[in-house]
Each structure stands twice: as C-alpha cells, then as structure tokens.
C-alpha cells in the first residue's frame, strides 16, 4: 500500500502553509475592548430599519434566488436556440471551453451586473445606498455563483471576472442589507466596495464581457 500523494500534500500544507502560532489572545482583547468602549452606538447600523425590513428582505431573497436560477436557465435556453436557429458556426466554435449557451447567459448577466455596479458607484458619491440594492445584488450573487458552478472554469478570464464579481456582490449585499448608511464604518465599507470595483476595473471588464463573445473574441 503506497501513500496517496495527495495525503502527503495535505500533511505538508497543514504543517507549513500559513501555520498559525499561539493566539495572541490578550493583546487582541485589549484592542477589542478599547474599540467596544470607545463610543457605544457609533458606527452601529440602524437596527429599527433592519428589523422592519427583515421579513420582506427574507422573502425577497428566496424569490430572487429562484428568479436568478430561472433567469440563468432561460438565458442558457435562449443561447442554445440562438445558436441553433442562427446556425452561426462562428458562435458555436467560439466557445473553446465554455458552451455558447452559457456564454449568452453570462453576457446577459454581466450586463445586469454592470447596471447595478454603476448605480452603486453613483450612490456612493452621494454617500447613500438604495435599500433595494440588497435584493438586486442578492439575485445577481446567486446567479454569479451558479455561473461559477456551471463550469466557467474552462474560461480563465470569465472565471476570474465571476470570482471578482462574487466578492464585490457579497460586500454590497452585506452593506445594503445593513439597512442604513449611518456611521463612519458603513460609509467606509461602501467606499471600499466602490474602490474594489475601480481597482479591479470591473466596469470595463463587464462591458467587454457583456457581449456573448466578449472573452474569446478579445
């Protein structure tokens, strides 16, 4: 019985990859305690707004998850029909690793995500965020994850873009879901989310990818 090389990799990784030492418990507690004592209530989100919005948001999140999955399936279906009816061999051949139907669904998804990010960026300039953004972003997040799981990995550029989007959307869902833009910390998080969009050049990448052949045609 020879040892599985993967077991050896895992053993070595456990031992060497960013292996944590002893937890600096007291040193961290001092900082945390100072933070909790500094200004209770500061930077805390508007809990009343969160509580009021909770049942609605919960219902809508399920609805959006279902809608996102349905939209993706529909997008793939349309992609298949378009390819078949149009008979455009360049389209069919364009997708080296990702099926053309998935590429169509992704292109549509990128268009919608671009709209959301554009709106969030505009809102951020005014120091606010639309309460409906969370619901919208949640649907797009579900769809992004579906696209990742559906095999966008065959196209590294698409995979990378989807993973970048996932991070930003998670941030926006959490941020917009907090229900209020009160507090320096929340404002800072919004700025960070927007900075993430800009540093990763998400909008130009989405615009380029918003065409069915955005990746392979580049």
């Amino acid at each position: 019985m020879s040892e599985d090389p993967m077991d050896r990799i895992l053993d070595a990784a456990r031992e060497t990859y960013h292996a944590p030492g002893r937890t600096p418990k007291e040193a961290m507690w001092e900082v945390i305690q100072r933070g909790t004592e500094a200004a209770p209530g500061d930077d805390v989100i508007d809990l009343t707004a969160v509580r009021n919005a909770r049942p609605v948001r919960r219902y809508r999140s399920y609805a959006w998850a279902a809608a996102a999955a349905a939209a993706l399936v529909l997008g793939i279906g349309i992609g298949r029909m378009t390819t078949r009816v149009g008979g455009d061999s360049s389209l069919a051949n364009a997708a080296d690793g990702v099926p053309t139907s998935l590429r169509f669904a992704a292109a549509e998804h990128f268009g919608r995500t671009e709209s959301l990010l554009t709106m969030v960026r505009a809102d951020a300039r005014q120091g606010r965020i639309d309460p409906m953004t969370s619901t919208w972003a949640r649907g797009l997040l579900v769809q992004t994850r579906l696209l990742i799981d559906y095999g966008s990995g065959a196209e590294p550029a698409m995979q990378e873009l989807l993973e970048d989007l996932e991070l930003v959307l998670v941030q926006i869902v959490g941020l917009a879901g907090s229900g209020s833009m009160e507090g320096d910390r929340t404002r800072m998080e919004l700025e960070l989310a927007v900075r993430g969009v800009e540093e990763r050049e998400l909008l130009p990448r989405l615009q380029a990818a918003g065409r069915p052949l955005g990746f392979s045609g580049a």
Partner: protein, 176 residues
C-alpha cells in the same frame, strides 16, 4: 443565548466569554488566510468588533459560531483585497522563516511549491480548502459560513485539490 443577550446589553464579561470560546478558531482561520501575524490580528479584532456592534441583529437562526465565522471570512477576504497581491511574493526569506516552524520536517523546496500552489488557488476554492483540509471544518460548517450549499462546498474542495494535484503532482512523486 444568555451570554449573547447579556453581551448585546453591554456586559463585557459575557462578551469576553464569547471571545474566549471562539477566538482561537477565528485567529487560526484568519492566519491561514492572511499568512501574517499582524494581518491575522487585525482581521480577528475587526471581526469581534463587528460582532459586538451587531449582536442585536443575531437572531439565533444559525449557531453563533457560524455567524461569527461568516463575518470573519468576509472581513479577511475584503481585507486581503486591500493588500497588494504581490507583497507576499516579495516577502523576505527572514519573514518566511518566521512564519514556518523551524523544526518542520517538510523539505524547503516542497514547502515553497505548496505555498505557491495554494496562493494561486482562486479565493473561493482556497477558502474552502483552508477551512476543510487545513483547519478541519466540516462541509456543513463551511456551507453555512459561506452561504452556499453543502454540495458546492464539496465541489469547490474537489476543484481545489485537483488544482493542487495538478500543480504538485510531480513534486509529490519526488518526495513520497
């Protein structure tokens, strides 16, 4: 739940008890993700501060630990985005020696290749890999923490391992 209620009303002892019960796992995970003590400390502190500020929002639908871990992963991923991606590659050998235990029986060459291979994993795969294979979280815990289905967690781990196997396969044959 009692501890959480007390902590949400400003009881520092209750919050300290919650901290004591969870800090080791959170710090270990933060360190695995960050690879640097200062960053791991920052992420852990930020996580507990956010939790303290949002204790009122904790409804008990999920375990407190799951909620805490979701915040920790989010803080770490967002924090790492702010860190220059290339900084770790430029880290000096002295720093690397500080991070890795000196008595490690793992060959330095293999160690470096593992570091490179894991660093190259996309975040969504790496997080699952670190949590499951290096820190021993179950797929159920990971799924709840990341807000994905358990099957997604398993699929991501499988992809992470496949990528590692692909990158390290040759090296492993040399060392086994």
């Amino acid at each position: 739940m009692q501890l959480i209620e007390r902590a949400s009303k400003g009881d520092q002892q209750a919050f300290r008890a919650l901290y004591d019960a969870n800090v080791d796992r959170i710090y270990r995970l933060a360190y695995r993700m960050a690879g640097e003590e200062d960053l791991a400390k920052d992420f852990t502190q930020e996580t507990f501060l956010r939790v303290y500020q949002r204790l009122d929002q904790f409804r008990g639908d999920a375990a407190f630990s799951t909620w805490l871990h979701s915040i920790a992963v989010s803080v770490a991923l967002n924090g790492l985005r702010k860190v220059d991606r290339h900084r770790k590659r430029e880290r000096s050998l002295e720093d690397a020696a500080h991070v890795i235990p000196g008595n490690s029986p793992v060959e330095p060459g293999l160690r470096d290749r593992i570091e490179d291979a894991v660093n190259q994993l996309p975040d969504i795969y790496k997080t699952v890999f670190l949590m499951h294979d290096l820190e021993g979280y179950t797929h159920g815990e990971i799924a709840e923490t990341l807000g994905v289905a358990e099957g997604t967690s398993k699929a991501r781990l499988s992809r992470a391992r496949a990528k590692l196997r692909e990158k390290l396969g040759d090296a492993m044959q040399e060392y086994v």
